[in-house]
């Protein structure tokens, strides 16, 4: 989905609050959220990391941006537990003593029409172009590289295809490729000559191209 989670390259964001810290969690509820995120692998049948990521992406944009990372984690995991009938939303709000905002529903027809590619089609050095597709459901091709052309630096092993994996589709694995884009290709005149962005992309996101 072309959602607010897909932040790469967006304008308007200010300075980074850069405070290198060593502790993973600052408050107990953050530990609980993290524990539930991993624990949900056991609590939910047919659970996938992609379904979890999509549950976070489905949060209302105003909610997504207003809260700490681990509130997004808790909201996403709880949404999946409610959608799958493990927990009851009204019961959770009773227990919590107030409203418990969850993520929005999965879109109708969430998938783009991408032909499965079970065989490795590209090699190191190949020039490829990212398809310009816009599914309403989960995808891991960032908007900033769609329609852009790059060069394969490395071929990674096959991994479950996230677009279908997030939406209960049949098991489908494809190679991913570390595709290097020049900053000029991505950002036009604002790019610097010797800056590059490498994006890890599944085979069926790509098509062959010529330099």
């Amino acid at each position: 989905m072309d959602g607010v989670h897909d932040l790469g390259g967006m304008h308007g964001f200010g300075p980074i609050n850069y405070r290198p810290t060593t502790e993973a969690f600052h408050e107990e509820w953050q530990e609980t959220a993290f524990g539930l995120m991993l624990g949900s692998v056991i609590l939910l049948q047919n659970h996938t990391p992609d379904a979890y990521r999509h549950s976070v992406e489905r949060m209302a944009p105003s909610h997504y941006f207003a809260v700490h990372y681990y509130e997004r984690v808790l909201t996403g995991v709880t949404t999946l537990l409610v959608e799958n009938g493990v927990l009851d939303h009204a019961d959770l709000e009773r227990r919590a003593g107030g409203r418990f905002p969850l993520a929005g529903p999965v879109a109708d027809k969430p998938l783009a029409d991408l032909t499965p590619q079970s065989e490795q089609r590209f090699n190191k050095g190949d020039v490829v172009k990212v398809k310009d597709f816009h599914p309403k459901g989960h995808t891991r091709a960032p908007r900033f590289c769609r329609g852009k052309q790059g060069r394969v630096l490395h071929v990674a092993p096959p991994f479950p295809f996230p677009d279908t994996s997030a939406h209960g589709g049949a098991q489908r694995e494809e190679h991913t490729y570390h595709v290097e884009f020049t900053a000029r290709e991505l950002w036009g005149d604002n790019g610097t000559d010797n800056d590059f962005v490498v994006v890890d992309l599944w085979d069926s996101y790509l098509e062959g191209a010529t330099a």
Partner: protein, 196 residues
């Protein structure tokens, strides 16, 4: 969305946990080992040991750059979000920096869970578009002649940066060298700490 009647986040987290326990969906202590691993076992000190070994053992470094997953496992670092690790070697002409623009993935076994700044919308939005400006703000000024590769963690590869070994550390032990490698150096927003 009206926010004034939303339950406090701690109460919401406690509600989910208590409901799952009372319904018998999970044991009362089921989350404890997960939280222990997240808080104590997956940490950047692990990645620092990997880097220090790479700096002192050329054969290990060759294995690490060829296939980092088994090389990290040699030191005992493997597990969730470490299924396919790729090590990125900084050189005098190429600097590497890692981001996950769409969520906040990191290689847990060697970098630990991501720090708050890495998860912030500001870092995720900006570092792919203006990496040098971001690095400058974070205290790292690169020579304009040095190329920058920003690695977007969009699929299942998990990256770690192998920063350059600081000058003046000849003869140092692995333990001494590991002290110079922060989580930020493993992500690429800092260099290894200079020898003092």
């Amino acid at each position: 969305m009206s926010t004034n009647d939303v339950a406090p986040i701690a109460a919401r987290a406690a509600a989910v946990r208590s409901a799952l326990i009372e319904q018998g969906a999970m044991a009362a202590d089921a989350l404890d080992p997960i939280i222990h691993w997240g808080a104590e076992e997956w940490k950047p000190e692990n990645g620092a040991r990997v880097v220090a070994k790479a700096w002192t053992d050329p054969e290990f470094k060759a294995r690490l750059l060829a296939d980092a997953t088994p090389a990290c496992a040699e030191l005992g670092y493997h597990g969730p979000q470490g299924e396919y690790i790729v090590a990125l070697e900084d050189t005098p002409s190429m600097h590497n920096v890692i981001v996950c623009t769409q969520c906040s993935c990191t290689a847990w076994p060697v970098l630990g869970l991501p720090p708050d700044w890495y998860k912030s919308p500001e870092y995720r939005a900006r570092v792919v578009r203006e990496p040098r400006r971001v690095l400058h703000e974070l205290g790292l000024d690169l020579d304009p002649a040095v190329s920058v590769r920003v690695w977007e963690t969009s699929a299942e590869t998990r990256y770690m940066v192998i920063p350059m070994r600081p000058e003046g550390t000849e003869g140092w032990t692995e333990e001494q060298l590991a002290e110079l490698v922060t989580r930020e150096a493993l992500i690429g927003t800092a260099l290894a700490t200079p020898a003092s």
